[in-house]
Each structure stands twice: as C-alpha cells, then as structure tokens.
Amino acid sequence: MISLEGVGKNYGEKILFENLELSVPRGSVSCILGASGCGKTTLLNLMAGLIQPDSGRVAFRGRISYVFQEPRLLPWASVRENAAYAMDPHLNKQERKEGTDFMLELLELEEASSLLPGQISGGMARRAALARGLLAPYDLILLDEPLSSLDPELRGRILNVLPDLMKEKAVVLVTHDYAVAEALSDRVYLLSTAPDGLRAVDKNDIEGTLHQIDLFNREGSPSQ
C-alpha cells in the first residue's frame, strides 16, 4: 500500500498542499475528485515519485504503473509495441504475446495494432496507453482520467472488466466522470488546494460532489 504522511507541496509562493494524509491499501480503489487546477495530477506525480514533496513523505515500496492524462506513446512504435512496452522483461515471448493479444482485444485495438500513434484517433491512443498501464507489472496503479473521450458503450464494457484486472492492487483514480467513479471506487475523496486538502466523501455523495465541482469551475475559479 501507499501512504502520504503530512505531505506538503509549494509552487513558488503558493502553497498547493499542506499536511496531506492518505493511505491506499492493497485491493482498494481510491477516487480523487476535485475542481480543475486543484492539483490532482500533481498529487499523482507525487505518488509516482516524479516530483518530491517539500515536506512530509510518500511511503511506498513496490512497482508502479501510471496511465497519464496524455497518452505518452512512442511515436515510432506501433500500438502493439507501445502496449507491450512496459511489460515485465522477464516474461518469455509467448507470455508477452498472449498478454498483449488479450489486452488489445479487450480494449478493441486489434485492428489498430500495427498502426503508429500518428495514424490513430485520440481515443485509440488513450486506450493504447491504458493497455500499457495495465500490462506493466505493478502493485500500485495511478489512473488520470483513464476513460475520458471514449464512447459510452465501450467505456461501459471496459468498466465491467477493470475491477477484475486490478484485483489485489492499490488503485488511485482521478476522474470527472460519474459513471467511472461510481463503478470503480471503494473510497472517494474531494481534493482542494491548501488549507483544505483531502476530505473523504460518502460514496452516495459522488454525484452531488461532482455537481459542486462543476459549479465551482464555472464560477471562474483559477483553472489550469
């Protein structure tokens, strides 16, 4: 499991986080909701070790997978190569092939498997990145808007299988999408910039919380 212990992060003069506490046990999905610009992606980057906290510490030992907000695919590698890119190097050829085939089929990418990222749609690129994230060996997976810009039908099918794929893992999910949050989350938090920080939200309150965030965003809050 991963835990944030009194984590603080500043950007210049601005205090973004102060004394954040969060623990995500193995086998649970924590969902982070929040207005745009409140630092959701920064929080994920802190957990991934891409940035260091200014105070407190991030305690985690193990392998991490991350589905970034942007696909971040290698432009000269095919969809299949990109999907398999972070797989465990100790797997043999057969295991790699079977794993990749399974994931490409699941995310409906078989037909695009030999295309380059420049030749596919944004939605397909997102799915290729999701495939890479799910195929990588991990104990903790960070998902930043993993299913945005997918058509609702496909999103529904993926939502049905995701819990099985991420069983026994620690999952941190950032989303604006009610269906995604509702289907996956065990615990829900609302993130705001300091001094508020993380606040636990009742699972039945997801819709209301998202509604509040939308109102907040619309009323001219500092957006990204």
């Binding site: 070790g49 891409l50 997978s65 991350y66 970034f68 290698l74 000269w76």
Partner: protein, 249 residues
C-alpha cells in the same frame, strides 16, 4: 514553395552565371598562372582522372575522412548522451569543448605536426574541429527529449538499454542526420587542409601542395573541382540512403 522544375531552372541559371563570370574574369586576367580558364581546368581534370595516382590520393583522403568521421561520431554520441543526462559530466567536459571550439585551426595543425606523424596529425586535427560540433548537436538532442516520455520511462522503470535503443536514439535521429550532413563536409575540408601542411605520402592535400610547388594553378583548380564533386557525391549518396532507410524506424 517552389516547384522542382523551378528549382532546377534557378540552380542552372546560377551555376551558369558563376562559370560565365569565371570565364570573363580569366579572359581579362589572361594568365593561366593567376586564374586559369574554366575549360583549361576541365581538360586538366579529365586528364587527371585517367591517372591511377589521382585515385590513390583520393582513396587515401576518403579513408581518413571516413575513419575520422566515424570515430568522432561514435565518441560524440557516447559522450553527448552521457553529458545530456548528467550535469556533472557536462560541466567536466565543458572546458575541454570550449577550448576545442576556440583553438585556431592552423596553430593546432602546426603543433600536431610537431607532436605526431603526418597520418595521426590529420586525424587529430579533424577530431578537434568536428568532435565539438557533433557533440553539441547530440547534447542539444538529449536536452530536447520529450519530457512526458522521459517520465514514462522513469515511472515504469524501463531498463536503460531499452530506453537508449527504443527512445533516446530514435529521438536523436534528426540531430544525427544534421550532424552527418554538416560533419562529413567539414571533415573533408579540414582533412585536406591538414594534409596540405602535414604532407602524408598519399592524399588530396599532398597533391594540392605538389601542384602549388610546380606553380600549376590549373592543377590546384582541378583538384578543388574534384573535391567539390566528391563532396556533392557524398551528399547525394547520403540523401539516397536516407530516402531508402530513413523513413522507416
């Protein structure tokens, strides 16, 4: 944009104008030893390329150019990748690179003649001039690597060798192509200049010196023309290779 036929037209016009200007000035000067006429140079060149000794000299120079260039490319790539990722190594190398860039070519050639035999001196001089150019181009390439993809490699703990071959080297390709284009031509010039002074047994530079000593200006012109043709030939060859193998991964 300019069409291919338009491009050809203006290239031809400009080349013809250059030759015409040369012809007019040489008629005015009217002394072969100061400025030979274009046709005299071409006739001399045709005679020259029938001689085996010409090709021995050309072969010797091309061998030096190729050897120095490939060696410099290899070390520039290795050093450039390491300093691109490590600030420490970058600053350790910085004074050396600055000195290499600033040092006067002629001074180095003279010194290297004192220190080394003519064969080594030529390669040494070429390294001093070409290495910093290729090295800087590789470092710039590393510094412009996609930050998102770098983070992706970091998070997934992609092994270094895989990161180098699948991400770093393919990203560097445009910088390497530019390096080959400019570095190869520059190597050719520098090697010939060094040969003129160091006088190895065979070499284009040696032949320049021989013609000059005989006060054969037409010969010097003909050798220059041959070098221009060789460099153009190398450029075309490289462009063809790029067209054939470059578009793919």
């Amino acid at each position: 944009m300019i069409s291919t036929s338009g491009k050809r037209f203006w290239l031809t016009i400009s080349s013809l104008f250059g030759v015409l200007l040369w012809k007019v000035v040489s008629s005015f000067v009217a002394r072969e030893i100061i400025l030979p006429s274009p046709e005299a140079v071409v006739v001399y060149l045709i005679g020259m390329i029938r001689e085996l000794s010409t090709w021995v000299a050309v072969g010797a120079t091309l061998r030096r150019v190729l050897f120095s260039f490939l060696m410099n490319m290899f070390f520039a790539l290795a050093a450039g990748v390491v300093s691109g990722f490590s600030h420490r190594f970058y600053y350790i190398l910085k004074p050396l690179i600055t000195v290499m860039k600033a040092v006067p070519t002629m001074g180095v050639i003279l010194l290297s003649l004192i220190w080394f035999n003519s064969e080594t001196a030529v390669v040494f001089v070429c390294t001093l001039i070409v290495f910093p150019l290729l090295y800087s181009s590789v470092v710039t390439g590393i510094h412009s690597l996609d930050k998102g993809l770098l983070e992706m490699h970091q998070v997934f703990r992609i092994p270094r060798y895989k990161m180098l071959t699948r991400f770093v080297l393919p990203s560097l390709r445009p910088y390497l192509v530019a390096g080959v284009m400019s570095g190869l031509g520059l190597s050719m010039k520098v090697i010939i200049a060094a040969e003129v002074l160091s006088q190895p047994k065979y070499g284009i530079g040696t032949m320049f010196q021989v013609e000059r000593a005989r006060l054969n200006t037409t010969g010097v012109f003909a050798w220059s023309l041959l070098v221009i043709l060789l460099t153009a030939g190398m450029d075309i060859l490289f462009a063809q290779l790029r067209k054939r193998y470059g578009a793919k991964r």
